[in-house]
């Protein structure tokens, strides 16, 4: 039983960079901009964050530099897609590769050096609670931040007037333009904020979860985050759940290594990605129109609950996602 709580706490910790990055991406996609550069941005900011923290000896500066890098990449994406009208997919993809190579090139001198790390800071008092203590209150500040950012994002999107504008930007930019909102300026702002969060997520890897820097340090996590945001239906709580599911798969894979020594560790490393993609594909398949059609052929008694499940699973993209805004 004790082991279970330890494992659960490990899952919560392992998911922290993913959750932060996923909330950043959720914000910008909700405003209608796909930041496909996520994986590259995370690598570049992880490298920068580590390097700055190592050179200055200041963790805070490391995170700030990482956030700045994430924001800068997002700004470049905005410049090329929002202002210059190029495809968000194309620019994002090129930026992903470019930032990956930049991180490899600029980060080569820092590879495999020991460096600073975010200190373990249990919260006095709360950490001693049974069950809840080890689960939620014996972590470090980055992980606490990842707990807080999910309700924060959800509240921002669904509980504030700012959130109304963000969601409207992704659904019908022409309507917010008619209300006097400068669509592209707002999209820039949200994209850059989201980018900064992605940057912080990168530093959460190099300064906390996977301390240090090495070639392709985040191992493709950025791509998984992109997929999770989509299959999480652009809703913060569901997206976070997706991140925790992925982290759980990772933890299970590492734990299973001791029980199944025959499986080579490299496969263990890839397995969560493969399983996650399968889960996401299944969820999508189950909520596709084909599935709905199949359900309507079933006895009527089964239809209602099944359709309810399908409606819950279904994720509708923001209507204007990825589309350039042109003044009417």
């Amino acid at each position: 039983m004790e082991q279970l709580w330890i494992d659960l706490a490990a899952i919560l910790a392992a998911a922290s960079p993913l959750v932060i990055a996923a909330m950043g991406e959720t914000l910008s996609e909700r405003a209608g901009v796909v930041n496909l550069s996520l994986d590259g941005t995370m690598l570049l900011s992880a490298m920068t964050g580590f390097a700055v923290a190592l050179l200055t000896g200041n963790l805070f500066l490391g995170f700030a530099a990482a956030a700045l890098v994430g924001a800068a990449v997002a700004a470049v994406l905005g410049l090329f897609s929002l202002t210059l009208g190029q495809s968000q997919t194309a620019v994002g993809f090129v930026l992903a590769l470019l930032c990956t190579d930049l991180s490899s090139f600029l980060g080569a001198p820092f590879a495999r050096l020991p460096g600073p790390a975010v200190p373990f800071t249990p919260i006095p008092g709360l950490a001693e609670l049974p069950i809840l203590g080890p689960l939620f209150f014996r972590h470090d500040p980055v992980i606490y931040a990842s707990f807080l950012i999910v309700p924060f994002t959800a509240f921002l999107l669904y509980g504030t007037r700012l959130g109304l504008i963000v969601r409207a930007l992704g659904e019908r930019p022409a309507a917010v333009y008619a209300r006097g909102v400068d669509v592209n300026r707002w999209r820039y702002a949200i994209l850059i904020t989201g980018g900064a969060l992605v940057g912080i997520a990168g530093a959460a890897f190099s300064l906390d979860l996977k301390q240090g820097w090495s070639y392709r340090h985040t191992f493709g996590s950025g791509w998984i985050v992109l997929a999770i945001v989509i299959f999480g239906g652009w809703r913060p709580w569901r997206v976070a759940l997706g991140c925790y599911l992925f982290a759980a798969l990772e933890i299970i894979a590492t734990r299973s290594q001791s029980t199944l020594p025959d499986i080579p560790p490299q496969i263990v490393q890839v397995a969560p990605f493969v399983l996650m993609i399968l889960v996401l594909a299944l969820v999508n398949l189950a909520s596709s129109p084909v599935a709905v059609w199949r359900v309507t052929r079933l006895p009527t008694a089964w239809q209602q609950p099944l359709l309810a499940v399908i409606t819950r699973l279904r994720a509708t993209a923001p209507a204007a996602l990825g589309q350039p805004f042109e003044r009417p």
């Binding site: 190029q86 992109l226 997929a227 496969i267 493969v274 999508n284």
Partner: protein, 339 residues
Amino acid sequence: MREERLQPLAILTRPLLALTAAFAFTTLVLLSTGVSPLEAYRLVLFGAFSTPVRLSDMIMLAAPLLLCAVGLSITFAGGLYNLGVEGQMIAGAIAAMVPLRLWPDWPPLLLWLLAGLSGATGGALWALLIGVLRRYAGVSEIFAGLGMNFLASGLVLYLVLGPWRRRTSASLSGTDLLPLELWLPTLDRLRLAPAAPVIALIGLAIVWWALTRTRWGLEVRAVGLNPAAAGRLGIAAARRMAETLAACGALAGLAGMIQVVAVHHALIPNISSGIGLLGLLVALLARADPRWLLPIVVLFASFTVGSIQLPLTLGIDSAIAGVLQGALVLFALASRARR
């Protein structure tokens, strides 16, 4: 468009600006490491042409790269971002290994044919799975492709470390080398197998012809531009999309087969070596126009091969080639802005 044709200078200004910007950016990155940019550029730009060995390496990189880029120009024409090209290459390499492992004592020529056929089929089937996910599960081809890439890397790792592991011990360096007589014949003392570039060039010619001269190519372009309208005009849009994916997968599979029989002579975990993603950059830069594919492929392959010497001679990472390639495509995209 029409006015541009009248002013040759105006056509050139934007690409030249993009080129300048890309080099300026890369130079800044180089300067940050303290090495002489001139020295680095000498190696990156001309290193691939300095010795016959390097030139042959460049050609052996260009061949699979050209196949991938050619395949991707089909999917781009059909309006699809086939990010799954890496996985298709891996699937092709795995499939190509099957006949080579099953009947190693058959005549080599027959085996190469079988390997090519099987590689192309493997790549095409792997790509069709993306089409299935897109059509029936509503997953965008971008994420279906990425997922299939992870799946393919998992599969190749499993094979290399599991059923197809070395006789001595399982190793990440790949399967046992193929018997020497199954290696695609190379030129004397070089690693250049002339058959590889020839296959790639034939692929380029066929695709160029198919996209510009045949009704199939016109239909694919119509579907890429507007699937709904193409459907109304009697074109089976979903089918054409699946066909473009399969065609791209087949070409990527062939690239994987070349990696096995002509480059690595074994199945290794990193058999695709990022060539598929580089092919995406090439296809983006060439705007899926087959005429530009060959020059860009040669250029990009020479950057990559030239940069391999950087760590030894200048002590900097070879990833600068990727930085230059990415910057070129990025600024080229910017130069296409309407404003």
